[in-house]
């Protein structure tokens, strides 16, 4: 039995904000579903899902995601272990920070960096030729997809593993020292169980990211046999307009993603861990020459996988035809479109997230219904299960039956990107919003502070910074996204990522590199402007 609701918190007042946000979500997803349902009327679904071509795409999608997740994780283990064993070397802090970069730079930019390093006319082939060897590397196809997925996900996996290592209490290292454990014994008895506990969750997350991979596969897949479901949806819509197939792909995509998300949620239960109480203690192992060399090699390898494409992005961008690119009206228009789409998506995402949180935090604090709050937040995050591309495809079909789908391109992109950013907004804004209510709710209620007064005097000062961060993250995500815009994009409504993709597709490599660097700069500038401009400088 939950205690009686405090006075002044009628069900309507508690649930209204979430209903508002939910209505928007339901409208978008519902419209997409209607769009797909309209097409389904004429199709034999069972036959389509069992179609050999469709199953072939599914098989490739799963296979490349499996390989990518396995490679990223297996390569991340020695890098993470070496970083965990070497808590202080020059450049370590920078390297660990850079590990977060591939997750946030626009995918098309990362792909460009990969091509510049590993591509046919990339740096490695140049080096091979200079050494008198044939240009061996050809990355179009599965190998290119895997290299790119390792670039994007291995650093991510390394960071997650490092967190697992950081959770080892200092007492454990002292215990190992006291018991006289050797390096291999420490690995077997302390670290391997740690890795085994963390690995399934990390692998499932990377599998999900690679399963829904679009831009990487679009650029590096090298043609029809190598398509993920997302790319196949894109091709079926854009080139063949084969709606029944789109539906079949969408059903498979949603089914697999839903299963995966359920699996990840189940794994996400936090381990029962008592916090360590002792002061940080050094590890007793890793002092011999062999361990030093091994760790050095692992760290250098990780730094190269991460760093080479990043360096290539910057140098190729700076040495490209900067003047010609930035004075190109198409570039300017794409930049303007990107800023508009990014800011609208970010703002809408923040608004939806705030609506959901206004309700869920009330449920958590004061009403003692954390279960309902949890359900509400998970329901909102279910957007992750319905991939943006499926929503985009549904809206595309619906709008096409009404009028010119391409005319709505930017609006649809902004809406879909806003949904995509929603889970991030909930993650960033949720905990401080709940804390704010828990800390100030009773006092504000007792003083009779309500409505705008409360917003101005309590919520804005307290939540300005996390709200600005959530806005900035959602905006940056949308800004760099090459997803649904590829479906809707046409002359006149290109975004910057689409422009870069089209430049790459027409082999205007130099211009593409400049555009990619400009996109990164734009992301960083908008991020900083929003985070500092709205969030304020703050004292922390």
């Amino acid at each position: 039995m939950s205690p009686a609701a405090p006075p002044g918190s009628s069900a309507l007042r508690v649930w209204a904000p979430a209903f508002g946000a939910g209505a928007v979500l339901a409208a978008v997803i519902g419209a997409a579903a209607v769009g797909l349902a309209l097409a389904v009327g004429r199709a034999d679904l069972a036959g389509l899902v069992g179609d050999a071509y469709v199953l072939g795409v599914l098989r490739f999608t799963v296979w490349q995601a499996l390989l990518s997740a396995a490679l990223a994780l297996v390569l991340a283990i020695p890098v993470a272990r070496a970083l965990a064993r070497r808590p202080a070397f020059p450049g370590r802090a920078v390297l660990v920070r850079l590990l977060g970069l591939p997750m946030v730079i626009p995918v098309i930019v990362g792909v460009l960096g990969i091509v510049a390093v590993y591509g046919r006319s990339g740096a490695i082939n140049d080096a091979l030729e200079a050494a008198g060897l044939p240009r061996l590397l050809d990355i179009y196809g599965l190998s290119g997809i895997l290299i790119a997925h390792v670039f994007f996900n291995m650093p991510f996996a390394t960071r997650l593993l490092l967190q697992a290592w950081a959770g080892v209490p200092a007492e454990t290292w002292r215990q190992a020292a006291q018991l006289g454990m050797s390096g291999p014994q420490i690995f077997r008895i302390i670290e391997w169980p740690l890795i085994r506990a963390a690995a399934p969750g990390i692998a499932a997350l990377i599998f999900l990211l690679c399963f829904t991979s679009f831009a990487v596969v679009l650029v590096l897949g090298g043609g029809p046999p190598n398509a993920t479901l997302e790319v196949a949806i894109y091709q079926a819509l854009r080139f063949e307009f084969d709606l029944p197939r789109v539906i079949a792909f969408a059903i498979l995509q949603v089914a697999v993603c839903a299963a995966l998300v359920a699996f990840i949620q189940r794994l996400a239960r936090p381990m029962a861990m008592e916090a360590g109480l002792a002061a940080p203690a050094p590890r007793p192992d890793g002092h011999d020459a062999l361990a030093r060399i091994g760790d050095g090699v692992a760290i250098a390898f990780g730094a190269a996988v991460l760093g080479l494409p990043l360096i290539a992005i910057v140098t190729a961008g700076l040495t490209g035809p900067i003047g010609a690119v930035v004075s190109d009206p198409v570039f300017l228009e794409a930049t303007r479109n990107s800023i508009l789409v990014g800011l609208s998506a970010g703002a809408l995402s923040l608004l939806l997230g705030a609506g959901i949180l206004a309700t869920s935090r009330r449920l958590r604090v004061g009403l003692w219904r954390p279960g309902q709050a949890e359900t509400l937040e998970i329901a909102a995050s279910l957007v992750l299960v319905v991939p943006p591309f499926v929503i985009g495809a549904g809206l595309f079909v619906l709008l096409r039956s009404i009028g010119d789908a391409f005319a709505f391109g930017l609006v649809v992109t902004a809406i879909v990107n806003a949904l995509m950013g929603l889970p991030f907004v909930l993650r960033i804004l949720g905990p401080p919003a709940t804390r704010s209510l828990a800390d100030t709710g009773r006092l504000a209620d007792s003083l009779g502070m309500t409505g705008l007064m409360r917003l101005r005097l309590i919520e804005i000062p307290r939540l300005r910074r996390p709200a600005a961060l959530a806005f900035a993250v959602a905006t940056a995500l949308s800004l760099g996204d090459l997803g649904v815009i590829a479906l809707f994009g046409s002359a006149g409504n290109r975004t910057l990522p689409l422009h870069v993709y089209q430049l790459m597709g027409t082999y205007r490599t130099g211009e593409a590199a400049v555009g990619a660097l400009a996109l990164v700069v734009l992301c960083v500038v908008l991020f900083v402007v929003i985070e500092r401009g709205i969030g304020g400088r703050g004292d922390d």
């Binding site: 007492e171 190992a176 018991l179 006289g180 454990m181 050797s182 008895i189 008592e274 916090a275 360590g276």
Partner: protein, 231 residues
Amino acid sequence: MIELDGVVFRYEAMRMAFDLRAEAGTFAVVIGPSGAGKSTLLNLIAGFDAPESGAVRLAGRDVTRLAPAERPVTMLFQAHNVFAHLSVADNVGLGIHPGLRLSAEDRRRVSGALDRLGLSGFERRRPGELSGGERQRVALARSLVRDRPILLLDEPFAALDPARRREMTSLVDSLRRERGLTVLLVSHQIEDVRAVADRALFVHGGRIVADAAPESLIAAPPTAEVAAYFG
């Protein structure tokens, strides 16, 4: 026997200096305010902290330069004395072989140590299924199979309720008598140990400022700091 000879250790701005002599078989309780250096004193003996100068002699041997595993010491911490993913038997077995290569005879020794600590039949259990007191008993069982003459206890019973705490303290005391252990126990509850400890070391500002029988320390605090500590 524990001997600290002009041992100096610096932690940030704090300079600590310890001199101590404790005969084999001593049970000393270490008390003092938080941050006074009680844990550091134990860490210096166990080898987790290395002194800037001075010598640490244990059981007649200079161990100042030796690694923790090479010293005749077992130390129990306030928490995390056992590995949550290993069974109780494996946790104890680590004290015999740190890579868990255990013979049948070793397994029997593990069971014997568990029996002695009232944990018969607990071999296959996981620490997660045990109470806080039982987990610390597992750690004590490991100290039995390690068979080192010095036992350092850094508040391992602080999280237990008063009855459990007294029970554990008298258990440690009976182990000391059976095996002739030298015991140093950091505690904030001098009441729990006044019956068993022969000495109380009062640490303040990185020094042992008082060293007397617990009873006399409580009855007649020798310095203002000690009096302030008891309140």
